[in-house]
Structures are given as C-alpha cells and as structure tokens.
C-alpha cells in the first residue's frame, strides 16, 4: 500500500505551528513512518502530483498567495487549515484595522513600496478556498494535531470540540479566573487546547477563536456584573480576531 502523501505549506505566519509539529519529537517519527511528507517546493514542481492531505499554515495576505492556495486546493484530497493564522487570519489580521499603505510603511519603512511587499487585506484560508478541517490555536496544540491526523489516516472524522474552554479548564480543576474577579474569554472560546493558560494563572485570551454559537450578549452583561467594560474584552479579542 502506498503511504498517504502529506504536504505542508506556509503562508504569512511565524511558523510557530510547524514548530509545534516538530516538538512532537518521538511521535513525529511515528508520523513519518505512516505518511510521505512532501516538501512544498518539491510538491509544487511535480505538476501531476496530488496530495492526500495538504496542511496550510498562515494567512493569505498577497494576491500571489490566493493563486498558490487555489492550486494547492485543486490537488489536495483533504485540506487542513493549521493554526489561527490559517483558520481566522490570526495576528496578521490586525493590519486590517489600519490603512494598508500605512502598515507597509510602518513595517518596512521606505522599502514598503517595493512590489514583493505588496499587501492586501488578510484572509483566512476558508475565505479563499474550501477547507475540510481547521486545527485551531496560536500556536496549535500538538497533541490535538496528532489526534486529528491519526483520525484522518484511519479514515475517521476527527473530533474537534465546539464547546468552550471552560469544559477542559474545569476538568483539570483549575481555579477559575473569575474567582479573582478577572475576565477570561474561556466561556466563549473553542476548547481543544486543554486550557493551559488558566492553569498557570493567565486568562484565556481566545487564541482558538470563538465557539460556533457564542453568547456574546451574555459576555457583555456578565462583564458588567464583574464591573469590567466591553472595551476590556475587545482589547483582549482583537489580537486573535475573535470579535
């Protein structure tokens, strides 16, 4: 039996998610035994080749990216968006709140006018092509990545939670941030990370994006109860476009 071909492509991102995959250490050896990992340059040059699983890291910020992603989609049986950059636009999307020319000048100074630094509004993968699965998080949780990949390889629909972080946070018996009168995004953010942040005393700031049907109305009223302002929350959320 030929091994499934898996290709990983990076777009605009910090490659932190790929690093998470590398951090699987011993498990990565298991993974490599099961699949043929196709390096992206190679994958793109062999015109005829298809990939069983294409993994997209990063967000779409340039016109060239759109074309490249469309080609990948046309050759991939399953396309996975990996990490917040790919699933929601991630940190890169912050620039959408500013004038693009200003962004270019701000980031690159005078070089900002050079054509390869041409930029457009940041998009998530699913805003450009059809995405089969999204692996959330900034960075992704590698145990979840491994679980999803194994599920796909065995021919099963992966389990991707659509309930809030609180479920996992409570299960590991973390003292809730609200007990200290702090706001935490946990009640409206998608679980799957295992709630690491509250467990070390940070609030969840929503890196995995919102659950499908968040009760935002409640979030606002509840914050009032805790004497916090909507702006506090907005500031938290803008980083990951969870608003």
């Amino acid at each position: 039996m030929t091994k499934p071909r898996v290709a990983i492509f990076d777009f605009a991102c910090c490659e932190g998610c790929q690093l998470q995959i590398v951090n699987l250490e011993e498990e990565i050896l298991n993974l490599i035994e099961l699949v043929d990992v196709v390096e992206w340059r190679e994958a793109m040059s062999e015109q005829s080749h298809e990939y069983d699983i294409a993994i997209i890291e990063g967000s779409i910020t340039r016109d060239e990216d759109v074309k490249r992603l469309e080609v990948i989609r046309s050759r991939a049986k399953v396309l996975i968006a990996l990490g917040s950059c790919a699933t929601s636009g991630g940190v890169n999307r912050m620039k959408n709140s500013f004038d693009l020319n200003e962004v270019r000048t701000c980031v690159y100074g005078r070089d900002g006018a050079m054509p390869h630094l041409n930029t457009r509004l940041t998009q998530a993968c699913h805003e450009v092509v059809a995405v089969d699965y999204k692996i959330y998080g900034c960075p992704i949780d590698n145990a979840e990545f491994a679980q999803i990949l194994r599920a796909l390889l065995v021919g099963k629909k992966p389990f991707i939670p659509d309930y809030p972080v609180c479920v996992e946070c409570k299960a590991r018996e973390t003292v809730c941030r609200y007990e200290y009168d702090e706001i935490c995004m946990g009640p409206i953010v998608r679980a799957g990370c295992g709630a690491p942040c509250p467990s070390v005393g940070w609030r969840c700031f929503g890196c995995r994006g919102l659950v499908d049907n968040p009760n935002v109305q409640a979030a606002q009223e509840v914050m009032d109860k805790y004497r916090l302002t909507v702006d506090d929350l907005k500031q938290k959320m803008v980083l990951f476009n969870t608003k």
Partner: protein
C-alpha cells in the same frame, strides 16, 4: 456500627502508614486558595478542615476520561478494568450522598461493570463538614450529614476525631489506627453537636420548600419565564455540569494509536448544557435553545433522576455550580425558589 476516638496526631500517623501501603491514597489538599482531591504524598497535606473542593470526588469514581475497551481497529475489543484499590479520604456528607446515588444509577438496570468495579475497590473515609463553604446549601437538601455509603465517617471534635466504621473494610482500617479507643459519651455528645450544627448551618442559600416537594413543583413549571430569564445569560459552557457531584452524563470516543491498528474506546464527561448534547445527524438539535438545556439540568436534578432513585433529589446542595457559573445563573435554590414564589400547587 463501631465508634471510636482517635487523636489528630494518631490519625496522622495512620494516614502516613496508609500512604506507605500499596493502595493509592487520595485526600483533600490545598490548591492555591481552594481545595482539591488529589493523591496524598504526605499525611500533613491532608486538609480535613476544608470547605469544598473545586471538583467533587466523582472524578475518582467516574474519571473525566476513562478507557472502557482496547481494540484492534475494525476488529475485536477487550474490556479494560480499572480496579486499583484506593482509599478516598475526606468525602463530605453531601458528596457521599451523591456517590450513593451514582452507585444506584450505575448498578440498576444494565449493570455497569466499569463504574461498579472501580467503586468496589474504593474505600471511603468520609468526614463531617468543619468549615462551611461560601455557597453550600446541604442543610436545605438534607445532605448536611450522612448515615450510610461510607466505610468510615470522621468527625472533628476539636483535638480528636470520632471514627465510625460501618463496613468490614472500614473496621479493618480502624484496627490499624494505633491509639483508637472506644468513643466515650462525652465524645459522642461533641460529635452530635457538630452534626446538629451542620444540619441547619450549611445553608448559605435557603430552599423555601422541602426537597421532596421539588418533583411535584416541577410538574407545574415547565413553561415558567424563569428558564428564559436565566438562560439568556447562559454561555452553554457546561461548568455547572462539570463540577456537579451528581452529573454523570458521558460521551464515548474512539482513539487510535500511532500504529493505526490498535486503539481504545473511552468515555469522557459530557454535559447537558453544552450546545450539541442532543444533536443528531442532519444537524438536528433536539434541545436547541439555551433555555431548554438550562431547564433540563434543573429538571434532571429535581425530577427526572429522582424518579429513578426512589425520590432522592439529585442536587445535594454542594454549591459548586453556584461558584463555577461565570454568568451567576446556575444556583438551583435561586431557580427553585423563583418557581415556588409564583406557582400554585394544588
């Protein structure tokens, strides 16, 4: 029933010896400024003066994630039986009541060997409440004290514990408590005072009716506005389910190992407040509205589960959901009292 008295020092030595034995010893310990059940490494970490633990001891009877079977992918499966002997120290009466309810639910009808085997391997050392927590209302639910289910019941009477052993397992343990002597009338009186005090004193929220009346009340309140009023703020976060000692709903998931040939079938905690708890194929959700899910939990506690366990109310008044709900809407007493206020009961 045999009742003895043991000094706190002597009890600590007993716990230290237990920790040295081959059984797993789990007890209540501090976790930041709260408390939690966890494996005891040192006898002095045991905190029987605790108010309430974040999660209930259910996590040892029905773990958040438990392997039911190991399997060959697309093939046969083998039962995984987890029956490691364990001593659970410091179970409060309301949690004991909750465990007894689960014992009944998992053994009635189709007998659940996974739960029951684990249960039988656990020795429970319960203890009367020494400090009331911020939201406890066990007095309202008749669960502030307990007279069955445990192997041993401890009561802190100042410098010593009164130790009541109710089972062979319990009596065998008490035999190992060096220095334990039959409890005198004086100690028994002190114990009675502690229990009497708790029977009325663990009541931060006061239910305005007898708990036994709740099933009857709930017959009339299905369309009451309170469900919508409260659930408007519900995040569907399931925190109220997760922390509850009497919630036992679960999901079942298959996990595959890296060889892609073997794996395990696990059961994991689920919660009826979560949005897709009742969703089936075609994305049809039988409990689509937040209010319907919010109502389901309080009906389950006050009516549905009681009908399966001889009328015992499945809220034991631990108050955990009251603290855990970030929207501050989960308090059962609040809801039941609102229903009582404006419902005519014939």
């Amino acid at each position: 029933m045999s009742v003895s008295t043991v000094s706190k020092e002597q009890f600590r030595s007993f716990v230290a010896a237990l920790i040295g034995s081959e059984q797993t010893v789990v007890g209540v310990q501090a976790k930041n400024d709260k408390f939690a059940f966890g494996p005891l490494r040192r006898a002095e970490d045991l905190r029987l003066d605790y108010d309430v633990t974040i999660l209930s001891p259910r996590k040892y009877l029905l773990p958040p994630k438990e392997t039911l079977l190991n399997f060959q992918v697309a093939g046969d499966s083998q039962t995984v039986c987890d029956c490691q002997p364990m001593v659970l120290i410091g179970v409060h009466p309301y949690d004991m009541a909750a465990i007894s309810q689960m014992d009944e639910l998992f053994s009635q009808g189709e007998y659940d060997t996974h739960y029951m085997n684990r249960r039988q391997a656990i020795t429970i050392i319960a203890c009367d409440v020494a400090t009331a927590s911020a939201n406890v209302f066990a007095s309202s639910m008749n669960t502030a004290t307990v007279d069955s289910g445990f192997d041993i019941l401890l009561t802190d009477i100042g410098g010593a514990y009164v130790v009541q052993a109710d089972t062979d397992k319990g009596r065998a343990l008490v035999k190992k408590m060096a220095g334990a002597k039959p409890a005198g009338a004086d100690d028994m009186a002190k114990r009675k005072a502690v229990q009497e005090k708790n029977r009325t004193g663990l009541n931060k929220h006061v239910l305005e009716c007898k708990p036994a009346f709740l099933p009857k009340l709930l017959e009339k309140t299905y369309d009451h506005p309170v469900w919508e009023d409260k659930a408007r703020l519900c995040y569907s976060c399931g925190s109220c389910n997760q922390v509850c000692p009497t919630c036992y709903c679960f999901d079942v998931q298959d996990e595959v190992n890296w060889d892609l040939k073997t794996g395990s079938r696990c059961r994991v905690w689920d919660g009826c407040l979560l949005e897709n708890f009742a969703t089936v194929a075609g994305n049809h959700n039988f409990r689509k509205n937040r209010s319907a899910r919010f109502r389901h939990r309080l009906y389950r506690k006050g009516k549905y589960v009681p009908s399966k366990i001889g009328g015992q109310i499945a809220c034991v008044g631990c108050g955990r959901c009251v603290s855990a709900c970030t929207a501050k809407i989960a308090n059962p007493v609040d809801v039941y009292n609102t229903l009582l206020e404006n419902t005519e009961i014939g």
